[in-house]
């Protein structure tokens, strides 16, 4: 079946799901999954084949002929979209079911269809006008998904923040596409490398798509939106929606001439975003906020790859540029898989306990063994540790950076600090996920809700298992993926077509297989040995402390305390501490909150100052006619003075 036929049927199914979604949830699910499967098939046909798919309509929509194009770059993102959209739809059927949420579930299904459909269209559209329409519709449907739970105030304000941030970004995109169309004389998109004068437009691209991608410091909307949305929505937002921003940056940095400093800027933004994002993530006490900040880190990691590739183009070093870009694109897939899995796991926790606050959880593994195991797996993946998929893409990225350093090219001035920053971010990611995984799932339950948790049902578990399977497959057979990555790299820069797979990639895959095998074997031997020697169960020894209570366990705030101290200048943690007083203290508490630094310490004061200036200026408008006449006279006098003294040359 040709990609055209597959995509047409997927479009038909997705549109039909929009119509039937409100009433017939089962039909809706079937249609969404079918549409995803058909699109997936089309994307893989293009990725593994040699030709792009392109289609121009002979009729006009909104004054422009439709122009769709599926090439290597868009296919990579389309694959991710299909997998997460289908998994999230199945997951949402149990997580946000009609029975539990009769008010918002039908609305949620329609918004889901609309968002997925428009993301797909945005990936395919090769016409600026249509791209903008699809992009705007995707942004709006995401808004409705974020405020699905609109009885809660935080969800409503998070959605507003998202909408405001997205429209600042949209403004940049309107300007970008408008100028592009005016300069090239057509809304049609495609490689425009002959227009060297368009290079400054790249900054608009970076700003416009950067807000959606959510790198630091444009991430202000991201933590609250991702944490307050229902978890299946958080999964697709973090897994796919922010990747749409990356798509925009990758797409237009490939199609346009970029300004000379672009590689340095993108690399710097990526490194900063990685380190700052993960520092904030480590300090969070809210499980989903932690995951959201971790997405800021991973967007940074992806940008490091893109920036490296831009730098390599500028310095004409194809070999390591290819590796960096391939690493970035593979990280798009990897992050999509494990971050969606992590959000689904956290959704399962919220479903079972009703709280995201880590200090209220603990000991969930007994009641939720599946969720705990899958979270542990995803934690290893997200920390970028072998033998899982996060390591494969970070390895490719590192290899690109190291090769650049080994060449001692001029680019290495940027590459050396970035590699060190990446290593520190990796170590912090490890710390973050040790904390998140063990505080939530291990130890003793800290509250009653944690004690009475329950495992999620098969419809939630199934998609989680599929995503976990994807993580494992991506880790064990990276060499199989190389043709797809090489194709995307070739679509980005035609000069880099036909990249040979690095010989080591195959070795890495085999090493992963052997490592996983040996680890399982040794674990089995050790478990058998422990059984054979006999075990006794007792309370945690804790250096002989006699009466431990669950409240005496290490908390998430305490765990992050050391790094929190190092980065206090950045985090600006607010804490409220009521000390125990007197001989019989009634109550004492310590509450810590990590504010969204850019939002609360930069944007809010700036916005407040602007409002104050505006209010002051408003005093000029008071409705007294005589004063207005005075303004007129003064204005006229001013103009006359300028004319008189400015004079003719």
């Amino acid at each position: 079946m040709s990609p055209g036929f597959l995509l047409t049927s997927a479009f038909a199914a997705a549109s039909a799901s929009l119509v039937v979604g409100a009433r017939y949830s089962r039909t809706w699910l079937a249609l969404v999954v079918c549409a995803a499967a058909a699109t997936l098939a089309a994307a893989f046909r293009v990725l593994l084949g040699t030709t792009d798919w392109e289609w121009r309509s002979n009729f006009a929509i909104g004054g422009e002929a439709a122009h769709l194009r599926l090439d290597g770059v868009s296919a990579v993102f389309l694959v991710l979209l299909c997998v997460v959209a289908a998994a999230g739809a199945v997951y949402g059927r149990e997580y946000w079911s009609d029975a539990r949420e009769p008010g918002s579930a039908p609305r949620g299904r329609i918004a889901w269809s609309a968002m997925v459909l428009n993301m797909g269209l945005a990936l395919l559209c090769s016409n600026g006008l249509h791209f903008l329409v699809a992009w705007e519709l995707f942004t709006l449907s995401a808004y409705f998904l974020i405020r699905l739970d609109d009885r809660r105030r935080p969800a409503r304000s998070a959605a507003w923040l998202y909408l405001a941030a997205s429209h600042v970004a949209s403004l940049c995109l309107f300007a970008f596409f408008g100028v592009l169309a005016a300069r090239t004389g057509s809304w049609d998109l495609g490689p425009m490398l002959e227009h060297a004068e368009l290079a400054p437009l790249f900054w608009l691209v970076l700003l416009g798509f950067g807000v959606k991608a959510g790198f630091f410091p444009l991430h202000v909307w991201l933590p609250s939106a991702h944490s307050n949305a229902p978890s299946h929505v958080s999964g697709i937002l973090s897994g796919v929606a922010i990747k749409m921003g990356i798509y925009g940056i990758v797409r237009f940095s490939g199609w346009l001439v970029v300004p000379p400093g672009a590689g340095w800027v993108v690399l710097g933004l990526g490194a900063g975003s990685a380190l700052v994002g993960i520092t904030f993530a480590f300090a969070q006490n809210d499980l989903k906020r932690l995951l959201a900040y971790c997405s800021v880190e991973h967007v940074g990691v992806i940008l490091i790859g893109v920036g490296g590739a831009l730098l390599a183009v500028a310095h004409d070093n194809a070999a390591w540029g290819r590796l960096a870009l391939a690493g970035a694109l593979l990280h798009v897939w990897n992050h999509g898989a494990f971050k969606a899995l992590l959000f689904f796991c956290s959704g399962s926790v919220v479903h079972a306990t009703g709280t995201r606050e880590m200090s209220r959880l603990g000991g969930l593994w007994r009641a939720m063994p599946w969720t705990a195991t899958l979270f542990a797996l995803a934690a290893i993946a997200v920390a970028g540790l072998p033998p899982l998929n996060g390591f494969v893409s970070e390895w490719l990225l590192y290899l690109g950076l190291f090769d650049a350093a080994a060449l001692r090219s001029a680019a290495a001035w940027a590459v050396l600090p970035v590699a060190i920053v990446l290593a520190m971010a990796g170590a912090l990611a490890l710390a973050t996920f040790v904390k998140a995984g063990t505080i939530v799932f291990f130890g003793a339950p800290r509250t009653q809700v944690a004690r009475h948790a329950h495992e999620c049902g098969p419809l939630m578990r199934g998609p989680m298992l599929v995503l976990a399977g994807a993580c494992i497959a991506l880790a064990l057979a990276p060499a199989v993926l190389w043709p797809a990555l090489a194709r995307a790299v070739g679509a980005w820069n035609p000069a880099w077509i036909g990249a040979e797979p690095p010989a080591a990639l195959d070795r890495l895959g085999w090493t992963h297989v052997v490592l996983a095998g040996v680890a399982v074997l040794v674990a089995l031997v050790l478990v058998r040995r422990v059984r054979a020697n006999g075990t006794r169960r007792g309370p945690t020894w804790d250096c002989g402390f006699a009466e431990p209570t669950p409240r005496m366990q290490y908390t998430s705030g305490a765990f992050a305390g050391i790094v929190g101290g190092w980065s206090a200048w950045l985090l600006r943690t607010e804490s409220r501490y009521r000390r125990p007083r007197g001989a019989f203290p009634a109550r004492s508490e310590r509450v810590e909150r990590v504010p969204e630094m850019v939002l609360e310490h930069v944007l809010a004061p700036t916005g407040g100052a602007l409002v104050r200036v505006a209010l002051a200026a408003r005093k000029l408008q008071h409705g007294r006619l005589q004063a207005y006449i005075l303004y007129l006279v003064l204005g006229l006098a001013g103009v006359a003075l300028i004319v008189y003294f400015g004079g003719a040359p």
Partner: protein, 302 residues
């Protein structure tokens, strides 16, 4: 077949020799203090005894508490197998294996910290938090050192990186890596392996609840890690490539012994640092590696 034999031989060397190092360090310390000290093979005796012992498990822990140490051991052992051993070159090496080396050590840290946190003990939580937080600095130092070797040799595979001499920055690199060795292996002045009930320790506190075979696996893994850092330090500094295989093996063995004795002497002559100075010392280690990197960058042929 040859590769397999090579790997097997190296595995035997690593697994058998590693437990000697902590013994040598203890012996050195005893000698400086004028005591006789336990035999060098004490750790091996302990391991054999622990392997036969029963296990006390906390009621809170999951099977991950036993699996964690196993995976950590495999990770450290895997990282060790990536290193060449003098005449025994590595048969497993590939371009970029140096990153696998660094990240396998991280995997071991992840598993140890995870298993420690499973017990729900505040004590072990404290140790795990310290371990993962200080690792941020030591990871930066290791990557800087590795980058220095990479720039020096123009390669990203461990075998090629560790063959040439480290050039002008060798002394800096050795000092930096020695600091990292002390920190990562929980030696004085970062940590005191002799204490068990101190609030200032990092690594020891994480294994408080382990017993029997899992504890044996952890202790053996820790000794392999010590040997691994000693070998890495030695090979990073010495020009292994310019020696004959026999001389290289001899030089390697001698310098590992020197590093071990130096660790023992450090432990004898220094007290453990106040806790807030630990990050400072680690930062110094990082800066030493960074300067080695700059030396490698500025000096040497392109």
């Amino acid at each position: 077949m040859n590769v397999l034999l090579d790997v097997l031989l190296r595995a035997v060397v690593w697994l058998a020799l590693a437990p000697l190092l902590p013994g040598i360090i203890t012996k050195t310390k005893a000698w400086v203090a004028g005591r006789r000290g336990p035999p060098v093979l004490q750790l091996s005796y302990d391991l054999a005894r622990l392997w036969r012992k029963g296990v006390v498990l906390s009621t809170l822990v999951s099977p991950g508490f036993v699996i964690g140490p196993a995976v950590a051991w495999v990770a450290v052992f895997g990282a060790a197998l990536l290193l060449p051993l003098g005449a025994l070159g590595t048969g497993l090496g590939f371009e970029g294996d140096v990153l696998l080396f660094v990240y396998l050590l991280a995997l071991a840290r992840f598993c140890t910290a995870w298993a420690a946190m499973e017990t729900g003990s505040a004590f072990e939580g404290m140790g795990a938090a310290r371990e993962v937080s200080y690792a941020v600095l030591s990871e930066a130092a290791i990557i800087a050192a590795v980058l220095a070797l990479c720039v020096q040799s123009g390669s990203t595979s461990l075998v090629a990186m560790l063959t040439p001499a480290a050039g002008a920055g060798a002394v800096l690199l050795a000092a930096g890596l020695f600091v990292v060795l002390l920190a990562e292996n929980c030696r004085v002045p970062f940590d005191d392996p002799n204490t068990h009930l101190e609030l200032t320790m990092i690594h020891e506190v994480m294994v408080l609840d382990h017993s029997g075979p899992p504890l044996a696996v952890i202790l053996h893994g820790a000794s392999v890690k010590l040997l691994l850092f000693a070998v890495f330090l030695t090979e990073a500094v010495l020009p292994m490539g310019s020696l004959t295989p026999l001389a290289a093996t001899g030089a390697l063995a001698a310098s590992v012994l020197v590093v071990t004795l130096a660790t023992g002497m450090t432990e004898s002559l220094l007290a453990r640092f106040a806790f807030r100075r630990v990050p400072l010392l680690l930062t110094v280690g990082f800066l030493l590696c960074l300067f080695a990197l700059l030396f490698a960058w500025r000096g040497g042929p392109a």
